[in-house]
Structure formats: structure tokens, C-alpha cells
Amino acid sequence: MPVVNYAAREITCKIVYYGPGRSGKTSNLQYIHRRAPMDRRGEMMSLATHGDRTLFFDFLPLDLGTLSGFTTRFQLYTVPGQVYYRSTRRLVLQGADGVVFVADSQRRQLEENVESYRDLHEALAEQGVDARELPMVLQYNKQDLPPELVCTPHEMDGHLNFRDVPSFRADALAGKGVFETLRRASELVLRRLSTPVLAER
């Protein structure tokens, strides 16, 4: 997927929010959608089950306007976290320019986090993407819960962040850490623009 089209002066980035079910990926997108001015955001499309779990995926197009002469558009996706939606996850992940892995900080969810993170690496490997090269950040969500129920960011890093990528603590429902996470992920994606192979014309 082209990241920058110099001829048309357009930048289009696809960022996928990955993580286990109910970790807060959709909450991230909903918060961004609420904070974005009306004219900057497209319709957020979300197909959910009755249990408010993401069935297929969420899609939030963000038109960031002209940044330094380039019309910049972000496409934010979430994947369905539930284990049985494996093929949908792979489909959504295709062509991602960056990944935000949203982990659930609750101790009891630790295994699901690890499993989902492994699943992400498997999916990337299947698509021939080197996970070390792909811009990625970790978000430890639900840090607002009582301390006895959640792992500290340090603990989460110990379990998940073996590649030492940027990590953020967050409370996605309240919006804490949501933009910090997106900003860092966007920055990592945009920093790659100068890599010739990623530039289209």
C-alpha cells in the first residue's frame, strides 16, 4: 500500500489496532472519533455483535487536511479480537503501515494478551512482513482499574515488549493515552516516508 504519493501530494496511512477481545481497541477509535472535528472525520463504521464485541472490524477514516503541502489521510482499523475471527484479522492486517497493539492490563487477561501478540506476529509472518521493520506501539489499556487487578506498565513490558517498542499506559474509555499512542504510531509510520521503497512517485 502506498504511503506517500508525491505526484498527487497525498499521504495515506493505514494503522491497525490489534489486540485480544475486549481490550479496548474500539474504545480507542471511538474516542478519536469524538475528539476529531466533524469535517475531519468520516463515518465510523463498526459492525458489532449484540454483546458489543467487534464482529468484523471498525473503520475510521480521518482526513487530516493538508499537512506541509500533503493531503494526509489516515485509515484506522480494528481487528476482531476473538480467537475465532482469525481470517478476518489477517484480512484487515493486510497492507497495514503501522500497528497499535492494545493490551488489556488486567492480570487475568495476561494470557490472552500474550496469545494475541503471538497471533499478530504469526499473521505478519504469513504476509511476509518483518515485524521488526513494521512501525508498532504497545498500549496498556485499563490502567485506571484498581492496582491490584492490573499489571503495571513495567510488568506488561516484561511480558510483551521483548522488542522494546514504544509503550503507553491508557484508559481508552476516558481518552487517557489514546492520542499519545496514535501520535507515536503515526510518527513512526510517517518517519518511514523517506524510505524510497515506500514512496510511490
Binding site: Y6, S68, G69, T72, F179, S186, L190, L193, S194, R201
Partner: protein
């Protein structure tokens, strides 16, 4: 209305505004020639008004005769409304029509003002037609403005649209250094650095904080500057934390990242593409460079493309002069189709301003063949049968009055008949060619001169030895000759000497003259000369070629020749040698007496 403080010297260019500053400079240097209109957009306080002022100031510096007007859009609306109420619309229009450079600020304030929008649209169109310049500034790009007439949006989008983002750290620091120097203040680098690290959304905010530091230091002169700066910055951070605008802050940071991440040479090339595309030119060749992994020589590329565009413009002008229907044809907007554009102009030239044609009466049928010109005649036959492919060029040489001119014209007449008479064959004496070249150079119409000949399907140059006297003519003829031979179009040359003996001829031309077939026509024998004056048997007048040779000997000039020749060939009256004076008897007036 221009604020004289706003100049390019006081603009600090950084990733957030570099493109806008470059575009503003280009417009100020060449108003009406580059981006029409130029539209600057960005949030409040990022320097749009400053750039408008700088453009106006520089335009006036370069040309005092220009009329430059700066207006915020709300004033523009108010003044128009006032004029409408007083019934002074014509006077208002006259005033604005006289403006060469219009700088309209805060254009988003025209939202819902239909009259003002209509007037602005009219002014943009007028500037486009008259070579004026319009520069607009607003918070949003034209396409995102609400309450605007779609036609005005299209007009405003027709030139270059550039955004200015909030200044990033380096630019903020540069601005602070500049202010410190301008206001000659004792503020150390650390204080400025501290202040620059604060992520303010605009230059205005930065200036406010800068002024706060200055005011604090004035009140407490003993306080170290760095300490004051830290306090002001801390206060500012606190205030900003109270009312965060996450999305704006996100956008600002992202803008800085985009600025520093996109390769500057690509961004510059993209702006060049945008400029020419905006003027309606096909930019495929420029866009190809965007695929390069290494930065190309941008100056050379820009110069080359501009050169091609200039050639296209000249060609279009020439085409429109010949045939107004050709103006605006798409081929004149595509530098990649320059040859095609040339070909269109050449065809138009061939149709409306054809090169000189052969004399109609000099045909193969009227050419007197004999032993002395058998080879030349056979070669002529080959050339007529297979022009451009066998003997190219055909170089015929021989003494004066040997019939070279006749044969060359005869070949030309035969070639003219090809494809149902569709061929254009240029036939000219080398001396006349030289005169035409001098005239073309004098009139600045060299390209037209070139194309007029290059449009021909075949070229015949008589007395080519006369080219030898002029280096410039040799140079031009060399390229003309090459163009014909390379395109496999026939060239026929005549000379009174063989190529190797043409005086003052460059070696490269001599070599080319010898590259085809060189044939000689022998001298006219005494018997043949006598035969030329022998009465023609009755009823066989068409078989009297010698009278033509006689004309070549005695008459130098088309008007005289026409007196003796009718449309069907030679006037039979002059075929009788008894009725023609072949030798002038003297200057004693006796002949005139006798003739009476």
C-alpha cells in the same frame, strides 16, 4: 494598507512554511507568471499575513509602477457593500481593476457574501487575462471553505494551494533568535531554547510569551533571563493543560513530522509538478523523476522543462497565427509531444505559407537529353521513382547553362505529383535561401523559417556553391540537410563544381554532399549550341528544349521569364530564332532606330 514591517527578510523559513515562503517569493519576483492565484492557508497566527505583506513589499521594490492592494476580506466586503449602497459600484470596480497585485487576507470571511464572492471571482479572472496577480490567504484550503460559490472555489484552486503549519521547534527557535536581534535584547540562548520547546500553535502565541519574558525582565532587571523564561514557560504549560485540544495538538505535531519526513527534493519536485500542471501542461516526464531513489539535478530538470514549455508556447503562437483553430490544441500542452507539435505547425506552414515551388514549365519532358547528361537523367529517374531511399542527396554539377537547373526543377515537378499531387517540394536558389535566412534572423522568425522548409517532402537547392560564403547559412543548411536525409526525404543539389571543389565549404557539408550520388552534366557542345538556334520543325514545338537553355543563359529573373512563357509552356513565337535577338549589337542606338 500594506504593513511595511512585513518583509521576506523577517520570515524564518522552516519545514512548516518552506513551501509557502518559496511560492510567495516566486510570485513576488514574477507576479502573474507563476502561480495564479496563490492560496495560502493555515491556522491563525502562523504567518500568512506576514507573507502577504512581504509579497506586496517585494513587488513594489522590484517595480514601483505596480499597484498593490492588501485587504482583509471583511474590509473588502464592507467597502463593496458601501459602494453598492451609494450606487458607486462602477467606481469601486474601476479602482480594483487598476490593481496589479491583489492581496486578500482572511478569505474565509467571505462566507455567505455572494456579491463579494462574485467580485473576487471577477478579479481573479481579470488577473488571469491581464497578467495581474491574486494572492489569497485563509484558514482553510478552498475546497474546505463553507458557504462559497463552487465556481469561486474552482477559481481559487486553479493556481497553487500551500498550507502553513504551526512552527516546529527549529523554526520557533529561529524566530526567537530573530526577534532577539531585531529588538536588541539581552536574552541568553538557554532562555530562548526553553521557550522554543513549548509547543505553541502559532507565531502569535510565541510572540506573546516572548513579550511576557521581556516584560518580566524589565520589571525585575536582576533576575536571570533563563529563570524568567522557565517561569513563563511553566505558566504557559499550566494554562495549556487546562484547555487541551488534543486533535489540534495531534495535527500540529504530525505536520512537523510530515515536514521533516518527506524528502525535500521530492516535495520541491512535487511543487514544480503542481505549478506546471496548474498551468495545464502534462507533467508525466517530471513525475517520472519522483520515482528515482536518488535526488536528481532539480535545477537542470526545471530549466529543461521550462525550455520545452517555452518551445511549445512559441509553436502554439505560430500555429494560431497560421490557423486560429489550432490555438489551445492539447498537443501544445504536452512537452512529451514536442515533435508532434512541431509537425502540426509545419503542416500549417505548408498549407498557409508554403516554401517556393519549382517552375512548372521545367519538366523532364522538356529536358533535352543527350550523351552529356544521360547519367544525370537516369539518376533523376531513379530519384523520382524512389525518393529519399537511393540517391540522397543527388548532387548534380556541371558548367553554367548545362541544364542543371532545368533538371532539378524537373525532378521537383515530378515529385510534386506523388500521392496525387499532395507532396510539397521546396525549390530555391542558395543565394535566395541565404537572403531569407538573414531576413528571418532580423525578424526573429528563425524557427518559422526552419519549419517552413522542414515541412517540405523534398528539398531542391540550386547553385548550392553559393552557400559557401556564409558560416551561418552553412550551419543552418547543415541541420536542414540532416533533417531531410534522416527522415529519408529527398535532397537534390546543383552546383557548377563538384562537392570537393565548392569554395569555403565546411568539410562536414562536403562530406554529406558526397554521401549520396554525385553526377555531372557535361558542357554543351558547339553542335548543340547551334541546334539551340535552329528553327524548330513545324508542329514539333514541344520538342524544343533548347529555348529554355537559352533563357537560362540570357534571362535571370522570373518576371522576365513569365513574359515569354504561357501556361502551356513556351510561347511558340519565341521558338523562332528569327524573332529573337540573341546578340545585342551595341550601344549606339542604331538597333532601336532599325527596330522602328
Amino acid at each position: 494598507m500594506l504593513d511595511g514591517r512585513f518583509r521576506f527578510e523577517s520570515v524564518v523559513a522552516g519545514p512548516s512554511n518552506r513551501l509557502a515562503v518559496a511560492a510567495a517569493n516566486a510570485v513576488a519576483d514574477s507576479p502573474g507568471k507563476v502561480y495564479q492565484p496563490l492560496f495560502l492557508h493555515g491556522p491563525s497566527g502562523v504567518g500568512k499575513t506576514h507573507l502577504l505583506g512581504a509579497i506586496g513589499f517585494q513587488v513594489l521594490q522590484l517595480n514601483r509602477k505596480y499597484t498593490v492592494q492588501y485587504r482583509p476580506a471583511d474590509e473588502f466586503v464592507e467597502q463593496l457593500r458601501g459602494a453598492l449602497m451609494k450606487g458607486d459600484l462602477h467606481a469601486w470596480r474601476r479602482e480594483w481593476d487598476a490593481v496589479n497585485v491583489l492581496l486578500l487576507d482572511d478569505v474565509h470571511l467571505l462566507d455567505g457574501h455572494a456579491e463579494a464572492q462574485a467580485e473576487l471571482m471577477r478579479l481573479i479572472e481579470q488577473a488571469q487575462a491581464n497578467g495581474g496577480q491574486v494572492i489569497l490567504a485563509g484558514h482553510r484550503p478552498p475546497g474546505e471553505l463553507d458557504g462559497f460559490d463552487q465556481r469561486l472555489v474552482t477559481s481559487m484552486s486553479g493556481g497553487l494551494i500551500v498550507d502553513i503549519a504551526a512552527p516546529e521547534f527549529e523554526t520557533r527557535l529561529g524566530i526567537l533568535w530573530l526577534w532577539r536581534n531585531i529588538r536588541v535584547l539581552d536574552l541568553d540562548d538557554a532562555s530562548l531554547d526553553e521557550l522554543a520547546r513549548l509547543d505553541v500553535g502559532s507565531v502569535k502565541d510565541l510572540l506573546t510569551l516572548f513579550d511576557k519574558i521581556v516584560a518580566q525582565r524589565t520589571r525585575q532587571p536582576g533576575t536571570p533571563a533563563a529563570g524568567v523564561a522557565r517561569i513563563v514557560v511553566a505558566q504557559a504549560r499550566e494554562e495549556r493543560a487546562i484547555a487541551p485540544d488534543e486533535f489540534s495538538s495531534f495535527l500540529n505535531e504530525l505536520s512537523a513530522v510530515v515536514s521533516s519526513s518527506v524528502e525535500q527534493w521530492r516535495a520541491r519536485l512535487a511543487s514544480v509538478v503542481a505549478r506546471w500542471a496548474g498551468e495545464g501542461y502534462v507533467t508525466t516526464s517530471l513525475e517520472r523523476y519522483l520515482e528515482s531513489t536518488e535526488p536528481p539535478d532539480l535545477d537542470a530538470i526545471e530549466t529543461q522543462f521550462a525550455g520545452l514549455v517555452n518551445q511549445l508556447r512559441d509553436l502554439e503562437q505560430e500555429a494560431a497565427r497560421l490557423d486560429p483553430k489550432l490555438a489551445g490544441v492539447s498537443v501544445f500542452r504536452d512537452p512529451g509531444r514536442l515533435d508532434e507539435a512541431r509537425s502540426i505547425v509545419m503542416r500549417a506552414l505548408a498549407a498557409y505559407d508554403p516554401p517556393p515551388a519549382p517552375a512548372e514549365h521545367l519538366t523532364i519532358e522538356t529536358f533535352a537529353s543527350g550523351a552529356r547528361n544521360q547519367l544525370a537523367l537516369r539518376s533523376a529517374g531513379e530519384v523520382i521513382a524512389l525518393p529519399g531511399s537511393r540517391f540522397n542527396p543527388l548532387f548534380i554539377h556541371g558548367p553554367q547553362s548545362s541544364g542543371k537547373t532545368h533538371l532539378a526543377h524537373a525532378i521537383a515537378n515530378a515529385l510534386k505529383e506523388r500521392d496525387g499531387g499532395a507532396w510539397t517540394v521546396a525549390v530555391i536558389d542558395a543565394a535566395a535561401l541565404g537572403e531569407e535566412l538573414i531576413e528571418a534572423l532580423r525578424m526573429g522568425a528563425l524557427e518559422r523559417w526552419r519549419m517552413r522548409y522542414r515541412a517540405a517532402d523534398a528539398l531542391v537547392v540550386d547553385n548550392v556553391q553559393r552557400i559557401g560564403g556564409s558560416d551561418r547559412l552553412q550551419e543552418e543548411f547543415f541541420h536542414l540537410f540532416n533533417a531531410f536525409v534522416e527522415a529519408q526525404r529527398q535532397v537534390v543539389l546543383t552546383s557548377d563544381v563538384p562537392p570537393s571543389r565548392v569554395p569555403s565549404m565546411t568539410a562536414r557539408l562536403q562530406k554529406r554532399f558526397e554521401s549520396g550520388l554525385v553526377v555531372e552534366i557535361g558542357r554543351v557542345s558547339e553542335e548543340e549550341a547551334v541546334a539551340r538556334h535552329t528553327p524548330v520543325p513545324a508542329g514539333d514545338e514541344a520538342a524544343a528544349p533548347t529555348i529554355d537553355a537559352w533563357f537560362e543563359d540570357s534571362v535571370d529573373g522570373e518576371p522576365v521569364r513569365r513574359m515569354f512563357i504561357n501556361s502551356s509552356g513556351i510561347d511558340s513565337f519565341f521558338l523562332d530564332p528569327e524573332k529573337v535577338i540573341t546578340e545585342w549589337p551595341g550601344l549606339d542606338g542604331r538597333v532601336l532606330e532599325d527596330a522602328r
